[in-house]
């Protein structure tokens, strides 16, 4: 019994293995991102006119898709786009959301009220639905996708940081800095911000994984990057018709890579969370 009680706040050993496993996966993904051209004999958009829908093996490690493009090469090259867009979108969401939460939480009063009511409207939708609606209306393309995914994620960061700021601003050292004449932005930047970002650090990696799933989901529905750009969701979409005919290689590999990549972020995020819990104890 006593052992159980001790472990309630988090399991350090398990946390470490999660972090290590997640980091290892992400390291492999990084290798794929950097060395994609070296690891594949074909270009991601290079067409082999003799072999559309070729089965794995022979000249094509994972076969070819409907257009005769090499699946292995496309899967590797897609990592660049998927990981890149996800990280960029989360970065924008963290910066924009934190800024809004910071100002709203620290200032309080009517700006806080107005911002929170705006967030209410945003959060009246399931995030994927919001992303879907905005992406469908805005149109695809890399920049739009980053904007859409950042937009639907930013409100959560705003709320997270706002809640944190509201407790931090009452702490004695912040009060002291304020009364000793430091400027509004000075206090905010030097004292409030660094002490309000702890939850953001845990959420962000998990969010990267989720952003990738959103991106792939949008692409799967045809709202992503233009064809024939190598992107996991779009590849799965193209291969969807093959599944009924029993051809697995056009859609299973891109999904598997996506899953592994998202899992890397999830393991890392979960491990960080677990570790944060166990230190808090």
């Amino acid at each position: 019994m006593s052992q159980r009680v001790r472990e309630v706040g988090g399991d350090r050993g398990f946390a470490s293995s999660l972090i290590i496993a997640g980091s290892a996966i992400l390291a492999l993904v990084a290798v794929a991102v950097v060395f994609a051209p070296l690891l594949s004999a074909w270009g991601p958009e290079e067409i082999d006119p003799l072999a559309p829908l070729a089965a794995p093996g022979g000249a094509h490690l994972l076969g070819t898709d409907l257009n005769g493009m090499d699946v292995w090469s496309r899967v590797l090259h897609a990592a660049r786009l998927d990981v890149g867009i996800a990280i960029a979108a989360v970065a924008v969401a963290v910066v924009a959301g934190s800024l809004v939460g910071l100002v709203a939480g620290y200032r309080g009063g009517w700006p806080d009220d107005v911002l929170m009511r705006v967030l209410d409207v945003f959060q009246a939708f399931p995030t994927f639905i919001l992303a879907l609606a905005v992406a469908a209306l805005l149109g695809g393309g890399t920049a739009n996708l980053i904007a859409v995914i950042a937009l639907v994620n930013a409100p959560a960061y705003a709320r997270l940081v706002r809640a944190e700021v509201r407790s931090v601003r009452e702490l004695p050292f912040v009060e002291a800095s304020r009364t000793s004449g430091a400027s509004f932005w000075g206090v905010l930047w030097r004292h409030v911000l660094p002490n309000s970002l702890t939850p953001v650090r845990v959420i962000a990696p998990l969010n990267c994984g989720w952003a990738m799933l959103t991106l792939a989901g949008l692409s799967f529905l045809g709202l992503g990057v233009p064809v024939p750009t190598a992107e996991w969701g779009a590849m799965i979409s193209l291969g969807a018709g093959d599944v009924v005919a029993g051809r697995w290689w056009t859609s299973v590999p891109p999904g598997l890579f996506l899953l592994i990549c998202v899992l890397g972020f999830s393991l890392l995020g979960e491990g960080l969370q677990e570790r944060a819990d166990s230190t808090r104890r």
């Binding site: 019994m1 052992q3 159980r4 009680v5 472990e7 309630v8 399991d11 398990f14 009511r117 705006v118 209410d120 409207v121 009246a124 939708f125 399931p126 995030t127 994927f128 639905i129 879907l132 609606a133 905005v134 469908a136 209306l137 805005l138 149109g139 994984g209 799933l213 792939a216 989901g217 799967f220 529905l221 045809g222 969701g233 799965i236 291969g239 969807a240 599944v243 009924v244 005919a245 029993g246 697995w248 859609s251 299973v252 891109p254 999904g255 996506l258 899953l259 998202v262 899992l263 972020f265 999830s266 393991l267 979960e270």
Partner: protein
């Protein structure tokens, strides 16, 4: 009485949110690029044809006029006319909501049961191999793209094994199922149509399994975390030390307390599963609300977009409201 007052206050708070949704959707769909009229006219249509069509749907009116017409219609339950099909949006929506709700409700129920059983089991075996396995499996479930998972299940369940029907439609048309609610399982039960019931179940299996795997992880985590708190509490330790039977400990102490946080989370997951359903419907050609709304978005069918967005937001906030009330009933500590 207190619950009623709480309910009333919360309902009032919904008004500005929904009003915001109505205004934002109305403006966004018109401001962003894309023209619904061009999508219904052929390539040879003249400017005059376009103007006539625009007038037919009231799109030649000034913006404020269109808005007043739209909001006025809402108060009488009129969602307008679909530009694509020319039929009433309300009627179209009515036959689309049933199939989707069927999918979401069954999946959510299965996921809740699974999460409760696995979560409590995992908490009671905390730190052991079984617990770690459940947690890693949940992480994998949380990381899997649901549309891809659906395809993999089709590949295995239909193409390779042949155990399940092809991913096209919700029920075998030969079973002559008559439409009542649109939820085929329910319709089959209501009309005592045995073959249709079986067929609907077969068609439901794979999409439901897909959704369950996609949504179970956060629920499982929550039950596990709550159960761990209970296990560490003094009340539970005391009860265990007094030698209460295992079954009594489980039922009287663990289950109820572990479920306290679940309603709020279930509401969140409900929203999440609406998002996933759009993708799952697409994979299984479910012809539900998600596919209908997606089509509306792609063709800029203003009335369809406005109606579907509003209905999703309404469902979402109402489900959250219900969750809060259920939470208040389950947890005596909550003061409302």
């Amino acid at each position: 009485m207190r619950v009623l007052r709480f309910l009333l206050r919360r309902l009032l708070q919904l008004v500005p949110v929904l009003l915001g949704v109505v205004v934002v959707t109305f403006l966004l769909v018109r401001v962003l690029p894309g023209d619904p009229i061009r999508t219904i006219l052929g390539p040879n249509a003249t400017e005059a044809d376009a103007a006539a069509a625009r007038a037919r749907f009231g799109l030649d009116q000034p913006l404020w006029r269109q808005f007043l017409d739209y909001v006025g219609g809402l108060f009488t339950g009129d969602f307008g006319t679909s530009i694509q099909s020319g039929t009433s949006v309300g009627a179209e929506m009515a036959v689309r909501i049933g199939p989707t709700m069927e999918l979401v409700v069954i999946a959510l129920t299965v996921a809740l049961l699974l999460a409760t059983v696995l979560g409590i089991w995992s908490a009671r075996n905390v730190g052991r191999f079984g617990d770690h396995t459940v947690r890693v499996a949940a992480l994998i479930g949380n990381s899997v793209p649901e549309f891809w998972l659906g395809l993999v299940l089709v590949l295995v369940g239909y193409s390779v094994l042949g155990w399940f029907p092809a991913p096209s439609g919700r029920v075998d048309p030969d079973t002559d199922l008559s439409l009542i609610t649109g939820a085929d399982l329910l319709d089959a039960a209501l009309t005592a149509n045995g073959p249709a019931f079986v067929s609907a179940l077969e068609h439901l299996a794979l999409p439901v399994a897909t959704l369950v795997i996609a949504i179970v992880a956060p629920l499982l985590r929550s039950v596990r975390a709550s159960a761990l708190e209970v296990l560490a509490s003094e009340a539970y330790t005391a009860a265990a030390a007094h030698g209460l039977k295992d079954r009594l400990l489980l039922r009287g102490y663990l289950v109820r307390a572990a479920l306290v946080r679940l309603p709020a989370l279930a509401a969140l997951v409900f929203g999440f599963s609406i998002g996933s359903t759009v993708l799952v419907e697409y994979v299984f050609s479910w012809q539900g609300f998600g596919q209908w709304a997606l089509r509306g978005l792609l063709y800029r069918d203003y009335p369809v977009v406005q109606a579907s967005v509003l209905v999703i937001a309404l469902f979402y906030v109402v489900v959250f409201l219900i969750a809060d009330v259920v939470h208040a009933i389950l947890d005596p500590r909550v003061r409302i």
